[in-house]
Amino acid sequence: MDLEQLIPWVRRGDELAWEAFVRRFQGRVFGLAYHYTGHVEDARDLAQEVFVRVYQNLASIPDGPGCLGWILRITRNACIDHLRRAKARPPLGDLAAETLFDLRSPEPDPETAHLEASRNAAVHRALGELTDLNREIILLKDIQGLSLDEIAAILEVPVGTVKSRSHRARLELAEKLVAVGMGG
């Protein structure tokens, strides 16, 4: 069932539709929450909180295309609130990204697969070294694939600002990758 068909059922409070909705978006919500918090448990709790909020506002779920942006906006706000509350808490060690994201290489050749895995890990590390704003732009645009308009609405800034910020963020990330020898 595609999203356009699913959402009316979810709005009506159908439990099976709600389960399908959760299964469809949980990876996105958890992935974004993990990038914001950097902790698996925190990200899991936040993702659960996001779905509870969505469930309390079933009637507000927008139609198909806007749904992902809407739910990621709720996720982002929940993460920002969480980070504000937990500002003083020291960072914890956590699972490596490779165990969390499905970064397995489809390459059958072990050497190529290893190279690709190390490249993925380098990108993930470089992402963690970006400034907060640049990382947020990359999270929303290049990772979650939201449009400039959606990002501008989430961050409450003009579209032009998002566009110029996006270029700068990508360049900052690329420079960090070049610094670790990933520039070709």
Partner: protein, 214 residues
């Protein structure tokens, strides 16, 4: 155009000439790097950028890194929250109570405020003071009651009068100020004393009267 830019050139000479004329073109290349990596440049601009990249290892590395990150980043969009996550969400939502109406939610929120008991006690005390300290006549003078609530105001006035009369009656029972005849309680106690003492009960004092005796 393509042939001209593909001709081998003395890199040092080119740099020297650019340094004395337009300056380094790398800043311009940085502006176009994202669009180049995304394939969003028009054909001529793309050709010019490619010619620069052929001679500038720094910009070429930057563009390569942009391409690599563009290929990897979408893989970070989804993560597996674990096998029990969906069940936990369903438990927290489907079993959770249905959302209350906005007015009920507001009222519930108001009632859950920690200071609500203090505020209610304060308002109650204030209302009590206002009700007992001001005579009904002054209340009526102080506020001009709108016609729509006249019946309600009249009921409130009657209630206040009744309360005052009750208070006077109770004062008459329990209090016997000097110069005024004793109340019912005093007469009952006098009879009881006389009975317990075995003597004749004292002559019952006259009933309290509001008439003044000269």
């Amino acid at each position: 155009m393509e042939d001209r830019f593909k001709r081998p050139a003395d890199a040092d000479l080119t740099e020297a000439i650019l340094a004395r004329t337009s300056g380094s073109p790398c800043a311009r290349m940085r502006e176009l790097a994202c669009d180049f990596a995304d394939g969003a440049l028009d054909a001529e601009r793309r050709m010019l950028a490619q010619a620069h990249l052929d001679h500038c290892p720094g910009c070429a590395a930057l563009v390569a890194a942009l391409g690599a990150s563009a290929a990897v980043l979408p893989r970070f969009a989804e993560a597996d929250p674990g096998p029990w996550f969906t069940q936990q969400v369903l438990r927290a939502t489907v079993w959770a109570p249905r959302p209350a109406s906005r007015a009920r939610a507001w009222w519930g929120k108001l009632m859950r405020r920690p200071r609500i008991a203090l505020e209610a006690a304060y308002l109650g005390t204030l209302a009590g003071f206002a009700g007992f300290s001001l005579p009904p006549a002054s209340l009526a003078k102080a506020w001009r009651v709108p016609a729509a609530v006249q019946p309600l105001a009249a009921s409130a006035r009657n209630l206040l009068h009744a309360e005052q009369r009750t208070a006077q009656a109770v004062a008459g029972i329990f209090v016997s100020p000097q110069g005024r005849p004793p109340g019912v309680v005093q007469r009952f106690l006098a009879k009881l004393r006389a009975w317990l003492g075995g003597g004749e009960p004292a002559e019952a004092p006259p009933r309290p009267s509001h008439q003044t005796h000269d």
